[in-house]
Amino acid sequence: MTTIAVPASEPQIAELLGDPGGAEALATSLYKAATPFETFGERASDERLISGWKGYAYEAYRDAAGSAGPEHEAMHQSVRRVARAVTFYADTLQTLKRDRDDLRDRKQRLDADRTGLLADIEAADDASASTIADLQARARDLTSRYRDLITDHDSWCRRVTDNEDQLRQSFASAKGLNGALSATGGATQDATDAMNEPGAPGGGSTPAEVKAWWDGLSAEERAAVTAAYPETIGSADGLPASARDDANRILLDDDLATLGDKEADGTLTADEKMQLANARAARDGLHRAESYVDPTTGAKPGGTLWLYDPTAFDGDGRVAVAVGDMDTADDVAVFTPGIKSEMTDTDFYTDKMTNVYESARYNGDGSSVAAMFWLGYDAPSGPTDPATLTEGRAEDGGRRLSDALDGLRASRPDEAHLTAIGHSYGSTTTAYAASEDDFAADDVVLIGSPGAGPAENADELSVGSGHVYVGRDSRDGVAMLGDEGWVGKGPIGLGTDPSSEDFGATRFEAEDVDRSSLPNFGDAHGSYLDDDTESLYNIGKIVDGHGDDVEEAEQSYDPWYSGAVDPEWDRDPTANEPGRSETGPDAT
């Protein structure tokens, strides 16, 4: 008699206790509850100085209010930290719920296979040797798959326990009066210990050191620091995008709940109104990224909130939202916008990132892609802002962009192909970043550029002239501002025109069918990332790592005997043409 060892049906998938929606509602209530402690602290500070009241009685009052103010501010932070811990718990619970569903589905499939195997064994009365060998092989395979399921289930159970432990510790640390009044109320011991380790972000650590610090933390410690210090984790260069995303979503939830409540009460200040508008724009952009479906696979590549700081730059805000997986994508694009760009534009620019993503995938080699809108610099506020006419913001922005890409590079264990794309003033910013010796991008794309800032030719950018690509619509009035030829254009541009022959970059086709007959600042300057344009097609090729395959355009030139000449002026633009300007499917 032959024995076939059929594995037992295990494990019993554990129940997941707790409700993400209920936990999220609790977090929202706690954010709301934190606000009165904040206003108490502010009132104690503001009203310590009651105009016109002087004397001994006043001094006694002032001393009392003076101690109440900081205490209540500490209490505000403690409740907020606990609320954020609840948000993190709720988010994690949601993920665990999804993962449990996956485990349950796997178990059901295994059980179905097991039932089938048992039936086949039952039916195999007088089986041949090969049938028996086949049944044995199936049993071994089933055993191995059950074993994997048990391992994954154990790991899932540990994550469930960790999630509950962390939240329990957060509540406990802020429960007593000492904890409530301390600067770390609501932060777990794991979190404060981890933040004191060498390499922790916020203390001048390099991206590589931050990455090493993160790699050295346990899963519990990572969860603890994310919940307790989301501001620091969310903007820490060197951390995986997923870690930053977790932290930034906590901050976003906090702002939406806290400021939304104040809005309902009619107590929003002017600054908070801007902050709330920025938060909502980030939420909408993130939602757009998460809803986007890759037409080549039918799957959702997901969204990442890589940077979130709605109060930066006098309320303009700093933000970065990505479409695709920034931690694993083979090809990563980072787009820097130009003037007028503010955090409230996040949703709009995230849509542009879906275009870049789609173009790279649709005409790509099958590699995975992520495209990120990065507004980490203080873009000039508009054409009439004097900052638009100077390179100061671009220079500062270039340093910030370079740091961001250093962080991105350090966060990845592999060598992702990285493309930095800049539009308009953002192209000057990108050129400043790329002029640094150790700029982390592999390819640079400048579109609608008023000038390449410090670089007089493409070789001065650290990626080398072979990796500098330029898109210029012949009617783009802004892209005409850069210097070319021996005369130049005086102070109106922001450096050398990168599409010119003298600059020596690869110019790609970027004419728009709606470019109009005269130079303009509308369609011709704004269509570079529009669907089914020549520009987006070529940018997709570059992002996909195939810059050599762009449809090249002849560079503009400036003969001594006349003004600048653009050979693209008379060429008929194309749109939605396969292999030239088709960037995605038309049918949905």
Partner: protein, 102 residues
Amino acid sequence: MSVTGIEYNQMRSASTGWGEQADEMEKTSKELAGLSVSGLAPSVQHVASSFMEAWSGYAHESADIASGFADAISTTADHINDADQVSKSWLDRLDGHLGPTR
């Protein structure tokens, strides 16, 4: 102390502000006490409930502090005002004239 004085309306306004703050803290105290922790896993619910209870108490205490500030400012303003009225009645009796009109 070399200077003493009050601006009555400012003190009244500050007192009213602290009164409102006290109401807000009392409301928060009640809300914290009534928050449901049922969305959390049972292993967290106990400590969460203790937290809510403790913080409901802190908010109540804060309401007392705010209320105390409101009363103290208001009472002080009234005391100073009363003292000023008393002083006024004395000072009304002063005569600053010289000669026969005195």
